[in-house]
Amino acid sequence: MRFPQPVRVGDLLHRLVLQPVESQIILGRVHAVIRDAHGNVMVVMNFGGFYGFGGRLIAVPIDAMVLLGQDMEVVAYTPEQLKTLPTYKASAETAELPDDAILKVGLAKPSH
């Protein structure tokens, strides 16, 4: 168990998203947190850019991510798998979660 902790959606926005490796490679940055057409909570992040800027938006299930201090990590997908995810587009079926919504997110393994 990764001891999921309550965290405000507003506190997740703009966080760096890292690969869970010692070199802490930056995968992207949190852009929004949404509920998709199937009711799943997804983290929309820009991916494939530089230092979390640029690239395209992808939606990653929040259950695939953990908290590492001020950052987040994607633990359930490899960068190669993230590359295959479709580009995210907001639609009538997706809803952005308000900043004050509280989610429970697991904790990352210490990075040493």
Partner: protein, 257 residues
């Protein structure tokens, strides 16, 4: 224009060619390492650098000297920087010498804080007992020896209040801690009595969560992160150097910031 510092008769360029293989093999880190072991160590201690245990002894002696200097420089009345509550990272960053999945939560109902050593009243403490003592809060930076940091908000009993309440010998040099995750630690008495050294029960106004040391952990604003044991189970006041988990592996004991 010719440099003003260039000598009139330059050294023979062939010297560079002669030593090219050696120059190529130089690396910055290797140079530093070589400089430390062969240069400073021999000069400082006169030890035989071919014997690794001699080198280790010398380095530990320097580390102990550093500890003494830090203790001399420590100002018991100087406060570490504090921050507004809006800057508190929620939740805090998890850290331990093992993975978060290996955290063993402590049962707060049966938990007791045991006391030993130079303490008059050694009765064990419950969570409710500790909550009954005067509480204070501080928003301080947690700085890890690894280089990361975060701002956290802690509430609990200052260690000074606690030590005074149980009649600890405040002239003793060491306060030692044991924890449920087998992470022994210890600090100097001056730091233990500093106003920003606390037995923390809460983070961000909420009861400490399991991964962050529930029910009780140490938080001190004047030392590195590894001097802040979580899941405390006992406190000892002693005249004997107690060491600690990382200190046994060669980390500095004082670890002041």
């Amino acid at each position: 224009m010719k440099s003003l510092f260039r000598p009139d008769d330059a050294p023979d360029g062939s010297a560079l060619d002669l030593h090219r293989p050696l120059i190529r093999s130089l690396e910055r880190r290797g140079l530093l390492r070589g400089g430390i072991t062969l240069g400073s160590l021999v000069m400082l201690t006169g030890c035989d650098v071919k014997r690794p245990e001699a080198v280790q002894q010398a380095l530990l002696a320097i580390s102990r000297l550093n500890d003494k200097v830090q203790a001399l420089l420590f100002d018991p009345n100087k406060l570490a920087p504090t921050y507004p509550a809006s800057m508190i990272l929620r939740p805090p960053k998890f850290n331990a010498y093992y993975d978060v999945v290996d955290v063993k939560p402590v049962n707060g109902a049966t938990w007791r804080l045991e006391l030993s050593g130079l303490i008059q009243d050694k009765r064990p403490w419950t969570v409710e007992d500790l909550q009954g003592l005067p509480q204070s809060s501080m928003v301080i930076k947690h700085i890890c020896v690894e280089g990361w940091s975060y701002i956290g908000g802690w509430t609990g009993v200052t260690l000074r209040t606690f030590l005074e309440r149980v009649g600890a010998d405040l002239k003793a040099p060491y306060v030692a801690f044991n924890t449920a995750d087998n992470y022994p630690s210890s600090i100097d008495m001056a730091t233990a009595l500093h106003p920003q050294t606390m037995l923390a029960l809460q983070y961000g106004g909420q009861t400490l969560a399991d991964p962050f040391g529930f029910p009780l952990r140490l938080r001190t604003a004047t030392k590195l992160g590894y001097k802040n044991p979580k899941w405390l189970t006992s406190i000892e006041v002693t005249n004997t150097y107690p060491g600690g988990f990382w200190e046994k592996k060669g980390f500095p004991w004082f670890a002041g910031i």
